[in-house]
């Protein structure tokens, strides 16, 4: 469904991604583990068209994405819930969600059930729908960000560290939501440092270090790997 081959990305003279090749099959939930600065966000931003690759290709189904505009990529069905949420802080929660459906603006009827679905998944958002997004707590803002991405009706959903900075209980809730989204049929690529929790819901995982993919495998294999346990699980 989503396939990167030899993705290479430079920031000036600094190489953030060196020949990254990954694939996410239809219906899969794949986790990308990596420490701070490993290159997870760089890869995600490149996939969404916000960073230009130096070399390599990114394909969504049969489409080549490299070179397409971010707005076209969203319309193609690849939607990202970015690190740091990137909400519209001065707008209401509802408006943030509705703008998530921007590429489907000619089909407002089709967005209604998705909005209902988002409210059912995160009931607090229904309560706070008229508050400005900037006034919400970090966890609630993360829910808005996930909801906003869902409103784009993704075929492939990228989630960049959705659990960052959240209390353990909220992390659990957010990851449970991610699992449910995947089970409802959306293909998911999830970047996480919270390896233990993420591996529990994943079908497959990659480990990225210094812009290189250093490991790929089944969550159980990674969970059993000594190095992974040391680096990402701390046990």
């Amino acid at each position: 469904m989503l396939r990167c081959e030899g993705a290479t990305l430079d920031y000036g003279s600094y190489r953030a991604l060196s020949g990254v090749s990954i694939h996410v099959d239809k219906g899969e939930l794949v986790v990308m583990l990596g420490a701070n600065g490993a290159g997870k966000s760089s890869l995600f931003l490149a996939i969404s068209g916000l960073r230009k690759l130096k070399a390599g290709s990114i394909r969504l189904g049969e489409h080549e994405l490299a070179g397409r505009k971010p707005s076209q990529i969203v319309a193609d069905g690849l939607v990202q819930c970015p690190e740091g949420r990137k909400l519209f802080p001065g707008m209401s929660v509802l408006k943030n969600l509705m703008l998530g459906a921007y590429v489907h603006r000619n089909d407002p009827e089709g967005s209604k059930p998705i909005l209902e679905h988002v409210f059912a998944m995160f009931p607090i958002l229904r309560e706070k729908q008229h508050d400005t997004a900037g006034s919400l707590s970090g966890g609630q803002q993360q829910m808005v960000a996930i909801g906003r991405a869902l409103m784009g009706r993704p075929k492939v959903l990228l989630l960049d560290e959705p659990s960052l900075g959240l209390a353990p209980l909220v992390v659990k809730q957010v990851l449970a939501a991610v699992k449910a989204i995947n089970e409802a049929g959306t293909t998911v690529l999830l970047a996480e440092q919270n390896a233990f929790a993420a591996l529990k819901i994943a079908h497959r995982a990659y480990v990225i270090e210094n812009g290189h993919i250093v490991m790929e495998g089944h969550p159980d294999t990674l969970m059993g790997d000594e190095r992974i346990r040391k680096a990402y699980i701390g046990a």
């Binding site: 707005s71 001065g90 703008l99 921007y102």
Partner: protein, 289 residues
């Protein structure tokens, strides 16, 4: 104090404030896209006045045709400047945009100078009469300025709040990457924003021209004041631009009357220094971006 003179100053302040607010609104909207103050915005004000002068004075058309023609032509010039200059500088340091904007300002001014010369030009008011308001006289042109500005502000407000396209402009200003990630096209939003800012500047200029002559440098003082206004009002804030415009308009009108006409143009800048030393973040810090 003489009441009718006082009312007169209020009306003058409203007139000036309306013109300044319209110019500052465009400037503040474009700030949300470029993240720099667009120095060439003053040239759009000048361009609008000359286009109307050409349509009305040389082609002999009606004032309102001139107004609409000026708004459309200036919107086109603004869009062209976005395409040819600013969009190409999107990934370069902000200083480059600023230098380009100043270059553009000088260029448009020079074009006006080359075509129409340095002489002052006049645009006749469409309704030369006066009306009486609360015991004082109000030239109809001033009433038109005030009513036009209020109408445009309401329309702009509704556009930004109630329409999807308007929301994309606000979204882009509040979080550019967030906007791209929901599929909003930066190019489209930039073009629309520049077009609106150009049209507002042109309409302000054409409304103002009958009570204030047209010349190649007419935009300079206005744009400087518009900067003062958006700094006062908070960069990027729409209500701030309106209120800031009114504050400067009133300060000038009352300052000219009660202090000295010669000091009128200094008042805006004195006010800027005074307010910023008390509130460095401006009167309305811009909504978090």
């Amino acid at each position: 104090m003489n009441l009718s003179l006082f009312v007169q100053q209020i009306l003058n302040g409203l007139t000036l404030g309306s013109v300044y607010a319209l110019v500052a609104l465009g400037l503040t909207l474009v700030y949300g896209i470029l993240h720099i103050p667009n120095f060439s915005h003053g040239a759009l004000f000048t361009a609008g006045a000359y286009v109307a002068f050409f349509i009305v004075g040389s082609l002999g058309a009606n004032y309102w045709v001139g107004l609409i023609g000026a708004a459309l032509a200036t919107a086109a010039i603004a869009m062209l400047s976005e395409r040819l200059v600013f969009s190409r500088l999107r990934d370069s340091p902000p200083l480059h945009d600023m230098i380009a904007a100043i270059g553009l300002l000088l260029f448009i001014e020079a074009v006006a100078h080359a075509i129409w010369g340095a002489d002052f030009r006049r645009l006749a008011p469409p309704y030369p009469g006066i009306m009486r308001v609360a015991g004082t006289v109000l030239p109809i042109q001033r009433a038109l300025i005030i009513a036009g500005a209020i109408g445009l502000m309401v329309a702009l407000h509704l556009f930004l709040r109630r329409t999807v396209t308007g929301s994309t402009i606000v979204a882009m200003a509040q979080n550019r990457e967030g906007a791209s990630l929901v599929g909003i096209d930066l190019t489209r939003v930039s073009l629309i924003t520049f077009a609106i800012s150009g049209a507002l500047a042109a309409i302000a200029a054409v409304l103002f021209a009958p009570i204030n002559l047209i010349s190649p440098g007419m935009g300079n003082l206005v744009i400087l004041k518009a900067f003062v206004i958006i700094i006062l009002g908070g960069m990027g804030s729409v209500p701030g631009a309106i209120l800031g415009g009114m504050i400067i308009g009133f300060a000038e009108s009352f300052g000219a009357f009660y202090i000295s006409t010669d000091l009128k143009d200094i008042i805006a800048f004195a006010l800027l220094v005074a307010i910023l030393s008390l509130r460095p973040q401006g009167l309305f810090p811009a909504p978090a971006r």
